[in-house]
């Protein structure tokens, strides 16, 4: 069949068959080599975190992928086309110009101070006087896991990217990834007792925080998240329990039926 092998003849049929076969074999090898080369380049360029998030985002349920302006009622039903990175969204600027005012961001007894910026993966960001940014779990995140059983933090000096992995923590054997809310270099790691987890030197000065929630939209978002939690706590998982007007208890992930605990944890921290 091949030149030099007994049985091969320099005829059109033989040459055509061998050419087709070798072309297909080369194409398959090329696909593997290209995937490996591109993958290596992605890792070298630090794109692994963004790739992971784009895959995770696509797998999130539709209601979790809603645009922040859908949550506030400005654009009902709109699904975020930018995987929660409003810095690249043309529509976002229009919506923000239309909104104004401040509000008191307390809901269900949860403390959401106005001076913080919030990420939809339940972290907050607070700019510091020295130019760094503090990152911590927001009130829902803290109430949900309480004190984690273990935490895997990035080493100081490592980079974090928006929507990439910030840190991992586990509770009662369930592990979850917490999304980093900003781009930058980790300069220090904290503890739950400190009230914050990361101190980050942002890539730009001033830092670009347009993709984070703030002001009046926080209340609408928190209300939506509370509603989701009520659904998660209900026996059939889809009907919200009537709120009794109380406050969220500590470590309420333990109140979620065991069979759904992993799923709820993943949904709240946007890791499907």
């Amino acid at each position: 069949m091949f030149p030099g092998v007994d049985g091969f003849h320099w005829t059109f049929a033989h040459i055509f068959f061998v050419s087709v076969f070798l072309s297909i074999a080369a194409a398959l090898a090329g696909i593997v080599i290209a995937s490996l080369a591109r993958g290596g380049r992605d890792i070298a360029n630090g794109r692994a975190g963004q790739i992971r998030w784009s895959l995770d985002f696509a797998e999130l349920p539709l209601e979790l992928r809603q645009c922040r302006h859908a949550v506030t009622g400005e654009a009902p039903g709109r699904i975020c086309p930018n995987a929660f990175d409003c810095r690249h969204c043309e529509e976002h600027a229009k919506f923000r110009q239309a909104r104004a005012g401040q509000c008191d961001n307390a809901a269900c007894g949860l403390f959401y101070p106005n001076y913080r910026y919030y990420h939809r993966g339940h972290t907050w960001v607070t700019p510091q006087k020295d130019g760094t940014l503090l990152v911590g779990l927001d009130a829902i995140g803290e109430h949900m896991v309480g004190k984690p059983d273990s935490v895997r933090m990035p080493a100081p000096g490592s980079r974090v990217v928006t929507n990439g992995e910030g840190w991992r923590m586990s509770k009662d054997g369930f592990e979850v990834r917490v999304l980093a809310p900003i781009d930058g270099t980790v300069v220090q790691t904290g503890t739950p007792q400190d009230g914050w987890y990361l101190r980050v030197q942002p890539d730009s000065h001033p830092p670009d925080l347009r993709h984070l929630l703030r002001g009046e939209e926080i209340e609408a978002w928190v209300s939506r998240e509370i509603e989701r939690l009520q659904c998660a706590l209900s026996p059939d998982a889809d009907t919200p329990l009537l709120a009794d007007g109380g406050v969220l208890m500590e470590e309420f992930i333990r109140e979620v039926p065991a069979a759904r605990r992993d799923e709820v944890l993943g949904e709240m921290f946007l890791e499907p």
């Binding site: 398959l28 696909i31 995937s35 499907p272």
Partner: protein
Amino acid sequence: MADAAFVPMTAVAKPLRDRRLITRGLDRCSLPVFSAWLAPWFVMLAVGLYATYLALRFGLNQTNMDNRFAFGLWIFLDLGVIALGAGAFFSGFLLYIMKLRELQAVINTAVILGFVCYSGAIAVLLVDVGQPLRAWFTFWHPNVHSMLTEVTFCISCYLAVLTLEYLPIVLKNRRLKQNASFLVFEWELHRLVPLLAGIGTLLSFFHQGSLGGLYGVLRGRPFAYRAGLGIWPTTFFLFILSAMAVGPSFLLLVLSAVEGITGKKLVAADVKMTLGKISGWLLIPYVLLKSVDTLVWLHSTSRQAGFRPWEYYCWKPFGFWVLLAEIVVCGFVPAILLIRRATRSRPWMLVLSAALACTGVLLNRFVLTIQTLALPTLAFDKFMVYYPNWQEFAVFGAVVAYAVIVYSLSYRYLPLFPQEKELNRVSRS
């Protein structure tokens, strides 16, 4: 509570628990129950491997095949699973080339079915041909006048394609995708899947056709011999069309079986109906062309070879009923049931139609393999009877067991069904 343990991200080694391998939010049975489900399949696989050892160690005299009856249960199995596994290439073609997005819900299952069907077929071929250590001879010293050469080349390449299509699904495992290298490789490979789908379609088109063609060119076997277009007998085209038609039906059958066994909704009803509709509209031209081909064969091709039509059907158990069953009961009937919305919208009718369609194509492959060899062709020939022995059944069973095991593991540890979470959330409420 003890203080949280703070450890560097890179220095954590945790025991590998089963639930950490299962996609978050997917409800799967406990590990003991899953093990109990797998146990009998592993036994079946072990028995088949022993039979394989016997066949490879002592030769094909371990089977009931002989020089006259050289094709038996194993070749029927090969032809059958390759036809049924066509759902992989055809679904990929419809999804990635024709942009039928609805099939995204079933593409993973289609790829896995294709993979197990083709890898199982090649494994059985290695046993059937014997001397697997010399398998490379078929590539280096092929018989260039045989359609099997093209089949060998195409099937080998297509198995490589299916492996590359299966790989991204495996790398979506919850644990594996934590590894950044696997993650980016899967991402980049998945971006090239449309190219793989195109190559797979090309390869499938030719090897499905050549499998049919190798029967159609048997001049010495008037039961199988067909006239055709150029060098291609009509069976070349009928095999392609029948595989395309039955692939979605087999996919539908497997999905229904998995849903029945697991008690979960995995795919939306409209997707299943789409599969049924595709199958139905492809079955129609297939059975029409098959009918025309049969009439031409009975009235012309066969008569020219000196055989009158009823001669083929006077040898029991291969009566005329086989032809009727293949073309009418398992051809026209499911085709009509599948193209009518009123019938395919009933789940049991949809499954029944798909089962009939699959049976029809399997019957076609059985008839061409077994009846062709059993019928006498010369005046001094006798009608030959062949029953597979336990070794042949055991190897057959091992392929089935292998398929079930691979699919079961994939179902448990890989996110096969994008709609599963949503559908079961709705069904819970």
